[in-house]
């Protein structure tokens, strides 16, 4: 292993990258775009959601509760229904995104301190879930017809129940931004190195390189190093924007966040390299990168809760670097955990890196056949 040759590869990659406008634009463009798109799509402060109302009680008290909900501005009434079933049909057809059900025994429930109303929400849309949480904050006992009835100081604990359809989990920007770091790094890093070797083969550079004393490890490591820096730039962009736009906290240590990011970056880069030694063309490399990307998004716990997945899917997910990274980053950023406490996932990522890098170096042959 010669440091001189390794360094020459690094410098060459950086120089080529500097002259490649599209790649440069991708490095910063993708994180910004994704963050803004995802971030605003999950903004919980929505207003004017279409709502259907089924007030089966129709007492002064129930009407007042509905009025209070409307007064928040979060929902706008577009339909009335006699039964909750009608509301569910409207919900399914997409005519409304929120249904409010006040049962016939509203007054009785209120006196007993039980749940007095139900909010049906279309859980296929994250934003609506957030809106429902806001609605559920409307005080139930503001309007008291009978002075003898007890006043409640903490009126809302469980008094209005939220029933989510299609996606029972609720998430918010705070939960998603850390995951987004992982998703963006997975998307860009695998792609960058995925095409790195194939591109040189397509352009004919490889035939020249393999006829020199350059060894595979120098070539592979030299190709990975510059992209670690790129990945860290991307990580910083996402964290800074996440903080600025969505006030996402970093409860743990910033160093731990970056260490976790480096682990994921390297895992993805080495995976990309392996793809690159296999693919016949840049297009094929991109297809393979996409083939990795899809399960990463779906199974890692970014989209759907890990615990709710079938066993087979969980096993598969354990192979994906993003799964382990999500546990690390959520632990560090949101729960304030340290990497030491999360050593299992750190170890899993390290193992992944070693296996992929070795496989890539071994698979790369200094031969044309």
């Amino acid at each position: 292993m010669s440091w001189r040759r390794l360094w020459a590869i690094v410098i060459k990659e950086l120089r080529q990258m500097r002259r490649d406008r599209i790649t440069l634009a991708m490095i910063v463009g993708i994180p910004v775009m994704q963050l803004v798109l995802f971030g605003y799509a999950i903004n919980t402060n929505l207003r004017g959601l279409e709502a259907g109302i089924s007030d089966q009680s129709n007492t002064a008290g129930s009407r007042a509760l509905v009025m209070d909900m409307l007064a928040t501005g979060v929902i706008a009434p577009v339909a009335r229904a006699d039964t909750p079933e009608e509301l569910m049909t409207m919900l399914r057809r997409g005519r409304i995104s929120v249904g409010i059900v006040v049962p016939p025994d509203f007054e009785r429930r209120r006196l007993d301190g039980r749940a007095v109303a139900q909010i049906l929400v279309d859980g296929s849309d994250n934003t609506v879930q957030g809106a429902a949480v806001q609605l559920a904050q409307v005080p139930v006992d503001n309007w008291v017809p009978d002075a003898r009835a007890p006043m409640r100081s903490t009126p809302n604990e469980g008094r209005i129940s939220i029933v989510g359809f299609y996606n029972p989990q609720r998430r918010s920007a705070v939960n998603i931004v850390p995951g987004l770091v992982g998703v963006i790094l997975t998307m860009t890093m695998v792609l960058f190195t995925g095409i790195a070797i194939v591109r040189e083969r397509e352009r004919g550079n490889m035939e020249l390189l393999i006829a020199t004393p350059l060894i595979s490890a120098e070539l592979m490591i030299g190709k990975v190093l510059p992209y670690i820096a790129i990945g860290l730039v991307q990580t910083s962009v996402i964290l800074a924007l996440g903080r600025w736009l969505f006030v996402v906290p970093i409860n743990g240590s910033l160093l731990d966040v970056y260490v976790a990011a480096v682990l994921l970056i390297m895992a993805n880069l080495t995976l990309g390299l392996l793809i690159s030694t296999r693919a016949q063309s840049q297009f094929q490399a991109m297809q393979m990168a996409f083939f990795i990307f899809l399960p990463s998004i779906l199974l890692s716990g970014f989209m759907f809760p890990f615990a709710g997945m079938p066993k087979v899917a969980q096993w598969l997910a354990e192979i994906l670097p993003l799964t382990h990274f999500l546990r690390l980053i959520r632990g560090v950023m949101l729960r304030g955990a340290s990497l030491w406490e999360l050593w299992v996932d750190v170890l899993a990522l390290l193992a992944f890196i070693v296996v992929m890098m070795t496989a890539a170096i071994l698979r790369f042959r200094k031969r044309l056949d």
Partner: protein
């Protein structure tokens, strides 16, 4: 030193490469002496690139033994890498690096000591006339300039042996002459060069050459040896209507090749047991029967005649087998 103990740089025996059912290189025996410009002449697809790649250790032979600079290839290919330079048929430097950056990169990869790199790069920039284009991106240069840069990069570490695969195929005649000047300078300085080409005038410049046809080595030797050994006779035919005369000759069994040169025809016939006089008479009779009034002179054979003769011969033998 540029060769094995006996002054032989490359020794190849029974070298064969198959791609599936295609035999790209077919039992080639080859001896390349050191400090020579050795030519590989053959039409496209005759196996020149495949042979060179096997000699560099980039392709594994299907059969045969290779000895390059005293090393067994492909087993000892790694030890060979630092002692050779290889200029690929397709431009293989980095289009998005400048002239200087490409040279610096290759210097580092080829292990030119760090302290000597800047001086070596300056020297090559000077020698190869890049002084005013050091900062130009390689991808924006002309064909001739690219080839010059590729050669400069191939020799940056002072290799003993240079493989050049059709180095001048995308180069204008003027640059081609300059390029060959450089090759002879390198040979004079003690480098062995193996150059493939499909151009006769280039082949004629080589010290020695091998003619490849469909993967088979059909002839080798110095250009004058090859023309002297020519298996056939060459004539210049002056006819009133060269095109009709050509049609009359082209399918005759004794005629190996007919090429129009200006208003005359250059005709190559089989040796076939007759002397030059007999063959000339045969042509006159043939053209007379076709109603052509012609003059036929014997001519000095050149390399192109040799090429036509040996490739025709190998094809006819193939047909008979």
């Amino acid at each position: 030193m540029s060769a094995g103990d006996d002054g032989i740089a490359i020794r190849v025996h029974g070298l064969t490469k198959r791609f599936g059912s295609l035999v790209a290189v077919d039992h080639v025996d080859l001896t390349v002496p050191g400090q020579h410009v050795y030519g590989f002449l053959g039409p496209n697809g005759s196996g020149k690139s495949t042979t060179i790649r096997m000699l560099c250790g980039l392709l594994t032979p299907s059969e045969g033994e290779i000895d390059v600079l005293g090393l067994r290839i492909p087993a000892q290919a790694e030890a060979l890498r630092s002692r050779i330079g290889y200029m690929t048929q397709k431009f293989s430097l980095f289009d998005d690096l400048t002239v200087r950056e490409n040279l610096e990169f290759m210097a580092a990869i080829q292990g030119v000591p760090k302290t000597r790199t800047a001086r070596r790069v300056d020297e090559l920039i000077e020698q190869y006339h890049f002084s005013d284009r050091q900062k130009q991106l390689a991808g924006t240069m002309s064909g001739g300039q690219k080839q010059r840069l590729a050669l400069a990069c191939a020799v940056i570490h002072g290799p003993e042996l240079l493989f050049l695969d059709e180095p001048t195929s995308a180069v204008d005649p003027e640059s081609r002459r300059d390029f060959w000047e450089k090759l002879f300078e390198l040979a004079d300085a003690g480098t062995t060069l193996l150059v493939s080409t499909h151009l006769m005038d280039e082949a004629e410049r080589c010290h020695r050459l091998a003619i490849l046809d469909q993967g088979v080595l059909v002839a080798d030797g110095t250009p004058s040896e090859l023309t002297a050994k020519l298996y056939g006779h060459t004539f210049i035919v002056e006819a009133d209507d060269p095109r009709r005369a050509q049609r009359a000759l082209v399918d005759a069994p004794e005629v190996l090749g007919v090429a129009q040169v200006g208003n005359t025809l250059r005709v190559l016939t089989h040796a076939g047991g007759v002397d030059t006089g007999g063959a000339g008479q045969y042509l006159r009779d043939l053209l007379g029967r076709a109603g052509q009034v012609v003059k036929v002179h014997a001519a000095q054979p050149n390399l192109e005649d040799v090429f036509v003769a040996v490739t025709r011969k190998s094809r006819q033998e193939e047909r008979m087998a």
